[in-house]
Symmetry: C2
Amino acid sequence: MDAIPQARPEESGGRSLPVVFTSVEFRDRFWRPRQESVRARTVPILLERSESAGMIEALDVDTPPPPLRIPIGRWGGTTQMFWDSDLGKWIEAASYTLAVKRDPALEARIDDIAERYRKAQRPDGYMNAYFIRRAPEKRWTNLRDWHELYCAGHLIEGAVAYFQATGKRVLLDALIRYVDHIAATFGTGPGQKRGYCGHEEIELALVKLYRVTGERKHLELARYFIDERGRQPHYFDFEARARGDDPANFAFRTYEYNQSYKPVREQDRVVGHAVRAMYLLSGMADIAGAYGDEGLRLACERMWNDLTGKNLYLTGGLGPSKANEGFTFDYDLPNDTAYAETCASVGLIFWAHRMLHIDCDGRYADVMERALYNGAASGLSLAGDRFFYENPLESHGDHHRWEWHVCPCCPPNIARLVASLGRYLCSSSDTEAAIHLYASSVTRLALGGRKVTLRQETEYPWEGTVAVHVEADAPGRFVLKLRVPGWCRAWSATVNGAALDRPTVERGYLRIEREWKSGDVVRLQLAMPVERVYANPRVAEDAGRVALMRGPIVYCLEAADNSVPLHRIALPRTAKLEARYDAGLLGGVGTVVGEAMAASEEGWDASLYRTDRPPPVPVRVAAVPYCVWDNRTPGAMAVWLREA
Amino acid sequence: MDAIPQARPEESGGRSLPVVFTSVEFRDRFWRPRQESVRARTVPILLERSESAGMIEALDVDTPPPPLRIPIGRWGGTTQMFWDSDLGKWIEAASYTLAVKRDPALEARIDDIAERYRKAQRPDGYMNAYFIRRAPEKRWTNLRDWHELYCAGHLIEGAVAYFQATGKRVLLDALIRYVDHIAATFGTGPGQKRGYCGHEEIELALVKLYRVTGERKHLELARYFIDERGRQPHYFDFEARARGDDPANFAFRTYEYNQSYKPVREQDRVVGHAVRAMYLLSGMADIAGAYGDEGLRLACERMWNDLTGKNLYLTGGLGPSKANEGFTFDYDLPNDTAYAETCASVGLIFWAHRMLHIDCDGRYADVMERALYNGAASGLSLAGDRFFYENPLESHGDHHRWEWHVCPCCPPNIARLVASLGRYLCSSSDTEAAIHLYASSVTRLALGGRKVTLRQETEYPWEGTVAVHVEADAPGRFVLKLRVPGWCRAWSATVNGAALDRPTVERGYLRIEREWKSGDVVRLQLAMPVERVYANPRVAEDAGRVALMRGPIVYCLEAADNSVPLHRIALPRTAKLEARYDAGLLGGVGTVVGEAMAASEEGWDASLYRTDRPPPVPVRVAAVPYCVWDNRTPGAMAVWLREA
């Protein structure tokens, strides 16, 4: 499986590339149980729910097309028009588990789905199941709203992953034919439609396809979709009029919603639907890297700064508003009404990972890690069977993970991320290896001609000590880069017990260049105190509030651990806070305990208002990682606490 | 006009009764300008907008019935089914201005409307314009949702007020015929419907009708509607089934919405739609008083305690939720999303006023005053031409008064309250006079056989000194009761310059019994410092916050007066706060100024989160009365401030 390409050799230009995820074995207590529950629980459950919703049956061209909303089954009621994307994402997640461990029964189910798609595919290559079955005359008539290319993108990602895991080509070949049809339909040539999708996704999918086919045309098509986006005259205007519709009737009113309000190279703010924005930016980073396109990279950079400097929750959640599932105005980061879709945080991780491989700068890894351990990990229950769509930072007790959702996009999204997480751990080139994330694990690398294994021993994210054991088939000189996280304010490192001579940190990475041999050990000590975090005063909802972090983990108070209603608790500036690992809690988590103050109810009797300040009384508080909240008795939760 | 009865002589049983509002002349700087702008601006504007919405034209039976939603005019789009109530309430408000100052042109408009109603009235007495014109076969088929009796109630109130102001009987006589029809249709007798209205109002209107007709049957009908409410088998169930509808299809799901979930005597919480609840409770208090019905009074008392102890905003606003325009759960008092309909605060004043006249206890007057000066007064712009429907206690700058509303119930409601405000100032019986509210004014009373004038000289609500000058046609012994407001923690009083000998305060009223003669002066000194007010710790949204009051006035910060965004401001516990009267501001208002702290933006640069607490810097803040906010440049507003 080492042959799974993360990038074509011609793309690398000597840069580090992510390691293949199958080369990484997690041995830790955070990710390994999550990967196992994705394999054993989430993937089978998603298949069952998709089947019960009628998604697979609906592909069978020998049966009548399904009704628009399927009432059957426990999991009915999802949006049929997007089912290809749900299946594609599920196939992708399942394939990542197959890449690690083959499973004939699971493969038989995917083979059946692949065969149904092959049979459904039109002679010209067109292969959107919804339009084939229900509205063939409407294909390619509403790219703005109907997600045909988005669906194609997810099927491509699924087919690529399944091919990489099993070598089976039925679905991949069907998709390649479909992409040929798409490439013939869209473009700047005579008779072609100058369209692109209202929901980005196919751009990054085509780059993945290129990496298995090596066909430059696949990369070119991705670049076309990115370059065409937002040009005038506007395709969505043209297309609406062609349908006899007034473009002004667009439900979301502004093309900021789908990031097509102007050409992407001219954009400098994250706008509109957050998941779409993250998928677009991932595709832009792919193309910027593959073509060495500096204008595109700078556009990504501007939007990175806009997102991370003004529009990102502490948890790595993004897109505060339910109305557009996306961005509103700078510093608008409400806690209890935060939309912060799981898919958006997953998409941010995709984008950050790509930025990191254009330019190995710790600030990308910092954000990637923040989203991963907090706003993305929260999307999945510890048992792997329930899913957050929205990830608010405060709840009054009425927000819980779903078994399924009317838009079931998030469950397979977090599943595919977790199942392929090894990809995010390290990168390597001929001359260097870089460790971005810490977790007990074994990573096998090809470093130039050498085979090198990096074995991490650590209790990260619960402790800041990391030992990296190097094993190499032969001694040799290379650079080992170890990320010094942005949250870390004091660190030290030794090689084989000896302190480093003038250690250098280059943009967030400790760089150690030496002759490495088997048995070498680097020990990194990252000071990991409980930190009190404040938001920029422009963030209205966090004014006068403080959040607790330790290492990359954002903590929250849950009603289950605290004896007084959370709104009454205020944390004194001088409160002593202690970190404790609790092996028996929530699968084993770090906790933060300490003494806070809470307004007393004493003396209020029946009165609602009075002129005497309610006297605060001391109260013991305990915080748990945000990512594991709502895995016990349902109750209130809060990340940002009042500071007394 | 002194003959306008506030209650029938047989009802009084020696208790104090409210004075007739035409006996009160305001000479103050708060209410007098508001009364003048209601007369000169609001009443003509409401007529123009009602006419422009098609309400008056729609009454003309010689023209085709209007379309369901009238697109014509600037003020179209209101709910036609409720137009009778809009016109009834406007006629009532207009009549109160006519009672003070006749106006032939205005009367001609009302006479025309009265004549249209008379012509539209069916031979059997039925007189709902909507059902006569548009759906005659549906009359009395959906009392739960269609407001026929509610509309009748507002027309009764309008007709009674117009008769009292002018002696003209056309509309009153039509309503008396309509009430005869209603009394024949509804009741417990054979062949009668055991119905009552989903939107209470007719109950209190029938009591008003009884007070001008003296016909016991009008009072009896009001009592029937109150007694029947919420009995099983449930009328709304029966009625829904009779329409072929499933009672479970009720849009609001629970009969708590219209206070019919159980018989009213068994209720002990304020529930459902807040305006309906207040109108019901006003009617209940009327009937409890008129019949000396102790069970009904106790039910009122329980709901009073529930409202004022757990469910009332500091401003006297009530009903936090938009979803049901009403109550949710105890202590649920969100600030920025507060619904707190103007009509609900007006309705609370109606109810409190009635409770006060069953039992002269200052706690009723305290709440009445709180709602009057804050959550009700806020409904009307200073110019008298714009109206709040919702009255939130915090705004991010996007909440403003309407010129008109899809449900234009609030404008005439606040107008009729302000126009008849004299009614709320004092009460008298044969042996005593009680002053509930302070304002520079002249009140003429009949006290037993004597004519007594009470002339208040005061800058209230801006200053706490009140001089009450007594003038009597002959000296005589009676009791003068002066309310000592619940907000007041220190007071003193003199009569003709001499301190009182062992002054007694009985349930909120200073009681002075003596021989009074012309020239006597009582001077009351109410200490009126700026007060910091705290909410019960069970109120989540006010945790860690403080509000400012001075006297009965709730203050707020408005962006217009403050140099930093309001969310950044925190008020230190030790902040020195100073009250200042500003004659040039907002028609002349008290303000509160002082020094607070605000988080500084310094050193944040592009970062969104950091571990250093943003240093607070001193900032000058100025607060204005809540009731006058949004009369200047649109901007943010906050009542509850963070306390540092």
